[in-house]
């Protein structure tokens, strides 16, 4: 393992300026600001919508729209899974509930997106092909699929893994990772979608989602997105 001496401290002026900023801003583990965004009104989200275009949506409208987006993501996932195997895939947790997005989502976030006003989906499945050792050639089937779909893709070595990822061009990303331990994973991620109040929307979904998902399934099996009329659990 390489051990090296890191270059020493930055220049004094930069340091002092940064010290002032440090003293005034702190280094907490991420901040959150609620509302008040005035920038990026025309910036388009993963679905090509601007904030103005979703401004009139009620929480129920947003909820149902999120359901449609979830279903689309699951379809992308199932199609990609079938390129590898129609057999058993292991789940990497439930994926009905979106996450706060902002700049944390895949792709370039629309200007003004924060964790408070945008959300994104993720879904990951795992497979353990017999005899798999994480060979870079095991990326090939997925690369061929990306080519067939006309998606831009790139591949890389990430630590001990090899990975290929593609931008579907319509707000979604697909990743395929192969690992030396023979555990391969397929991920589907959305870019950020606008919401009035992303935490509130996520909570509305979570409180209706029974989180009833299997440990393993064949491609095409997904947890149903809850209905707005479903009982809201009290927590």
């Amino acid at each position: 393992m390489r051990v090296k001496i890191r270059p020493r401290l930055r220049g004094a002026i930069v340091t002092m300026l940064a010290a002032v900023v440090l003293a005034t801003t702190g280094c907490v583990s991420g901040g959150a600001s609620r509302g008040g965004d005035v920038t990026g009104q025309d910036a388009q989200d993963a679905a090509g919508k601007t904030q103005a275009q979703v401004a009139d949506l009620s929480l129920q409208d947003e909820f149902e729209l999120a359901g449609e987006r979830y279903e689309h993501g699951q379809a992308v996932l199932a199609a990609a899974q079938r390129q590898i195997s129609d057999g058993t895939w292991y789940w990497n947790g439930g994926d009905v509930r979106p996450l706060p997005a902002g700049d944390d989502a895949f792709g370039k976030a629309p200007e003004g997106a924060t964790k408070e006003n945008s959300y994104a989906f993720r879904a990951v499945r795992i497979i353990e092909p017999e005899g798999a050792t994480g060979a870079v050639e095991d990326l090939d089937p997925m690369q061929r699929y990306f080519d067939e779909e006309g998606w831009r893709w790139s591949s890389a070595k990430v630590g001990t893994d090899h990975e290929v990822r593609a931008d579907t061009g319509d707000g979604w990303w697909v990743t395929w990772n192969v690992r030396p331990n023979g555990q391969y994973s397929l991920g589907v991620y959305s870019e950020a979608f606008w919401a009035h109040d992303a935490p509130e929307l996520i909570k509305a979904i979570a409180l209706r989602d029974p989180a009833d998902f299997p440990d393993e399934s064949e491609p095409g099996v997904s947890e149903p997105f809850p209905r707005w009329s479903d009982p809201v659990r009290q927590r």
């Binding site: 393992m1 390489r2 051990v3 090296k4 001496i5 890191r6 020493r8 401290l9 930055r10 930069v14 340091t15 940064a18 010290a19 900023v21 440090l22 003293a23 005034t24 702190g26 280094c27 907490v28 583990s29 991420g30 901040g31 959150a32 600001s33 990497n92 947790g93 439930g94 994926d95 009905v96 509930r97 706060p100 902002g102 700049d103 944390d104 989502a105 895949f106 924060t114 964790k115 408070e116 990951v124 790139s154 591949s155 890389a156 990430v158 630590g159 001990t160 893994d161 990743t175 990772n177 030396p180 331990n181 555990q183 909570k203 979570a206 409180l207 989180a211 998902f213 440990d215 927590r235």
Partner: protein, 641 residues
């Protein structure tokens, strides 16, 4: 403790212990004295002495405030007990100051003896060589051997006899009943007494950390420095007894306050108050709840206590509070106690504010309430997150493993996953300005790490703890070492508790990850643990204390990373330049990148997680290079193949 056990438990031998090993192989002869063990005891004694002295002074102020409205023979009893406590505490501080001096002297004597042995060995070698020359028959060689022998005088072979170490202390017993007649009465302001109890327990919590450190250092010293005779060493047991007395006193005063409260503010007969002393706690609980028990001792005491959920739910709030913050009992039980205290804090902030000892401190009530409410929201969100975690049903849980006070700050820890059964455990330590109000975002980051690790290796079960267990520094304090030194004991105790609370010896793989100033705290804490973790990962560090020997860190591998676009880590190092240095400059630290790579995002700021106020990528942001590498370290127990 035999040397091989020291090594097996992760205490890598320092050079002098290696010399002991050499004794057994007959390579050389020296003494059994490990400088590292001596240094640890010196530091622990110095810390205990200073801490106890401060506590004794604070005690006096606290007592004066409590006795203002306290009248009658119980007031006299309280004052008498407090005087004994204060005097004993000061006396113990003095014993530790003397112990430090003794160990300092022992170190010097050991060095003198080593030097003498070395010089004697070297002279013998030279003399042997001269003897060969003398026997050679070559007149020139014989003459030169003779001259050499005249110049090279035999060194003094008088052995240095180490001064025996003596450290004795026994606390005095404190009376708890006035033995009064039915005619005499006492009266008091119950709130003032409860404020005293809360503050007293908080202070004992800090003193307890000193006791744990002293216990561990003393045990190590006795086994690794047996060259020095130890005579009359009752100091550790005496410290233990002092803490037990203090714990009993707090429960007793709490009982007195509650009795006055129930009486509605009037006086009570001394006979009634005498009864309080007999019902303050069960023996099993009293044994377990006294401050200063190591997590292993807590685990042993826990084994004798009733262990049902119902039992914990039935305990008084003050007892639940103590249980919530006890490292060494199962996380599921701490969770019950911690949630009960948190719920009480939301429902009745004033009560828990006083219980925690904030009554006499500058921490504002509104700030307290704000943090309590934010923590409750974070726990609720963690419960929701836990439902969707990967893995078996039993591991889809969130646990609040502690909710208390450290150095005047609210602290807590939230685990995603089952900390009692997970094969793979990560403890993530935050840095400057972190408090329990920010727990929600840390839990989101923890979920991202857990999912990424599971997608790397689904054969394991995972738990990731967001540990906000120490009073993190504010910007004005970040240059100083005080907060990290104080937090180190807290973290060590928590990490040891993860191991000791399990009957199976602990998780298969344990990682401690630490951000910014948290890495300063963690690198010191991991030198105090009894157990060895697999990986210690420092990210965006403001520096390790100068003089840190990575071999002394109880981690198989130590990793560090800092993004080139992180503007604050170098500033933090600069602010602490007198005492800290970049982790990457220490021998034994393995570096990994936080820069952008094909397929991962480079870290562009200093935050642990993603900051929605900027475009920065934080260290644990989704898809960051750091997160991906950290997840691989967590899943594999190491970096790379």
């Amino acid at each position: 403790m035999p040397v091989d056990r020291l090594v097996a438990q992760g205490h890598r031998p320092s050079s002098s212990v290696e010399e002991q090993i050499a004794i057994h192989t007959g390579v050389c002869v020296t003494i059994v004295f490990d400088d590292g063990a001596a240094d640890a005891l010196i530091a622990a004694s110095e810390g205990a002495s200073g801490g106890l002295r401060s506590q004794a002074m604070a005690d006096r102020v606290r007592v004066e405030a409590a006795v203002r409205e306290f009248h009658g023979s119980y007031a006299t009893l309280f004052t008498t007990d407090s005087t004994i406590r204060s005097e004993d505490t000061q006396r113990l501080a003095g014993v530790f100051a003397d112990l430090k001096t003794s160990i300092d002297r022992a170190k010097r004597e050991a060095e003198s003896e080593r030097r003498r042995l070395r010089e004697s060995r070297e002279w013998s070698a030279r003399e042997e060589e001269r003897e060969q020359r003398r026997a050679s028959g070559d007149p020139l060689a014989v003459a030169s051997a003779y001259i050499d022998g005249v110049i090279d005088r035999r060194p003094d072979d008088t052995a240095v006899h180490p001064t025996p170490v003596t450290a004795t202390f026994l606390p005095r017993a404190r009376p708890r009943t006035a033995g009064g007649s039915s005619g005499s009465t006492s009266s008091a302001d119950p709130d003032a007494l409860l404020t005293f109890v809360g503050a007293s327990r908080a202070a004992d919590g800090s003193a307890g950390q000193h006791l744990i450190r002293v216990k561990n250092a003393w045990t190590r010293f006795c086994s690794a420095c047996s060259w020095v005779p130890v005579q009359g060493s009752t100091v550790v047991a005496g410290f233990d007894q002092l803490m037990a007395e203090n714990a009993l006193e707090a429960s007793w005063i709490e009982g007195i306050a509650n009795a006055f409260d129930r009486a509605g503010g009037g006086g009570l007969s001394d006979l009634t108050l005498d009864a309080v002393a007999t019902v303050i706690a069960s023996p099993a609980l009293s044994e377990m709840l006294r401050p200063g028990l190591t997590p292993a001792e807590v685990a042993a005491a826990w084994a004798k206590a009733p262990q049902t959920d119902e039992y914990i739910e039935s305990l008084p709030l003050a007892t639940q509070y103590l249980l919530a913050n006890l490292d060494g009992i199962p996380a599921a039980k701490r969770d019950i106690a911690s949630r009960a205290v948190l719920a009480a804090a939301v429902r009745d902030p004033e009560r828990v504010y006083t219980l925690m000892g904030f009554g006499e401190q500058r921490v504002g009530r509104s700030d307290f309430e704000e943090q309590v409410n934010a923590l409750q929201e974070a726990v609720d969100a963690a419960d929701l997150s836990a439902e969707t975690l990967p893995g078996p049903a039993a591991s889809k849980t969130a646990q609040l493993v502690g909710f208390g006070v450290h150095d005047g700050a609210l602290v807590a820890a939230v685990a995603l996953g089952d900390l009692d059964t997970a094969k793979n455990v990560t403890v993530n330590v935050p840095g400057m300005n972190s408090d329990v109000a920010g727990m929600g975002e840390r839990v989101v980051a923890a979920e991202g790490l857990l999912r990424q690790a599971h997608s790397d290796d689904r054969s394991q079960t995972y738990a990731v703890v967001s540990w906000v267990g120490y009073h993190a520094p504010n910007p004005a304090e970040v240059g100083a070492p005080d907060r990290s030194e104080s937090g180190a004991g807290q973290l060590a105790s928590f990490v040891d508790g993860v191991f000791d609370s399990r009957s199976d010896g602990g998780p298969d793989t344990v990682t401690v990850a630490a951000h910014s100033y948290g890495s300063t705290t963690a690198v010191q804490g991991l030198q105090l643990t009894e157990h060895q973790v697999d990986s210690f990962v420092s990210y965006g560090s403001v520096g390790f204390p100068r003089g840190t020997e990575i071999d002394d860190v109880h981690a198989v591998n130590v990793y560090a990373t800092a993004a080139k676009d992180d503007p604050f880590a170098p500033v933090g190092q600069w602010l602490g330049v007198a005492t800290r240095a970049d982790p990457l400059g220490f021998d034994g630290v393995q570096e990994f990148s936080s820069e952008a790579a094909e397929g991962t995002r480079g870290v562009t700021g200093h935050d642990m997680w993603h900051d929605s106020d900027s475009d920065d990528v934080g260290y644990l942001s989704n898809d960051s290079t750091t997160l991906r590498t950290l997840a691989q370290i967590v899943a594999d127990g190491k970096m790379g193949p």
